[in-house]
């Protein structure tokens, strides 16, 4: 019937598999960007007692010494497509 055909075309067609399969594409650039933001958040938090002008408001600057900590990437953040 038509409903079955349209469901099959929606769920099985070439169109349908794009969003999950895109995770197979490389994401180096997006990951680096996200990690950089996480480190900036950590730097802002660690310098919260002092005015955090130096760590966060200088353009093209990101300083953090805790680079060895594992950085959990927030799955809700951004779209790493």
């Amino acid at each position: 019937s038509e409903l079955e055909q349209s469901i099959l075309m929606t769920t099985d067609g070439l169109d349908a598999t794009g969003f999950l399969e895109h995770l197979k594409l490389p994401h180096y650039v997006t990951f680096r960007s996200m990690v950089d933001r996480k480190l900036a958040v950590r730097a802002a938090r660690s310098s919260q007692s002092t005015p955090d002008d130096d760590a966060t408001t200088r353009n093209r600057t990101d300083g953090d010494d805790t680079a060895n900590d594992p950085v959990p990437v927030d799955p809700r953040e951004g779209d790493c497509a």
Partner: protein, 325 residues
Amino acid sequence: MTTLDDRPLNQPALDGPPGSERRLTVDDLVDDNDVEVGILDEHAKRDLRRAILTAVCVPGYQVPFGSREMPVARGWGSGGLQITLAMVDDSDVVKVIDQGDDEGVNAVNLRRLICSTTGASETSEVDEATVIQTRHRIPEDEVRSDQTLVLQVPVPEPLRGVERNMAELSRMHAEADYARMWVSLYEDKVRNGVITKSTGYPCLVGGRYVIATTPIPRWDVPRLDHAPFLSLFGAGRERRIYAVPPDTDVEPLTFEDVPFEVERTPGACCSLCGATEAFLVEIPPSAPDDDARWVCSDTAWCRRRRARARADASGTATSSTGGGQ
């Protein structure tokens, strides 16, 4: 398989007076106007070009278009591919990069697809290209005003995290009511201390529309501002095209006292060419004790830099001949 009219295929066509019947052939069914049909036929190209023109005339406005079925699946760059195929002919030179890499599998296959179906030539140098299709990076080299940048966009809607309702979204764009976006940025800043949007930073184009810069890193966002080149953004799955014309204001949404930061890791330099002024990506350490290595994301740029360094080195080594590069 349907015929163009209701006549079944095995009935003879009556083209002239009765008695001069001949069989209906496939040639009768094929449109004669399409000579050398590639992947997109002329109607598809017309639809795309009209959408592109509308997008260029209204910078930042997401123009809906009829996204065709492409040999690449949705979510793999079909929008950018459609824009490129609508624009390119055999006099063009095409460069395709995937996160800065010319040699990635997807970039190679897209380039091969474009060039074999349109007759364009391919290159990996920004200098020689007329159309540069890219996924999530802007090339480090200077892109000139006679070149076009085509970006592949996964999610064209910058307000996606803020609003779900499509009618409300179109109202917000139409009335330039981006208050919810500003509030979400403010909450982000207050909660985290910095604005944590990493890639795809929302930008105001021409002072009117807010666009989602595709997941290009923040590093590349200043490149869009008053760029000499035209940028076309194609989202095939979402069926939208938007554009940033040359020399247009593109300012990232940020507060007056919160300057826009780009990615920077002090002390990181490319392990192949030693650059610090390009966008670097990290290669995770293979052993737990090793350091992470950094490499330039734009491989063509890195390669040229290394070739130039080698030429300089050989030039100074053979100083007896004089006159280095």
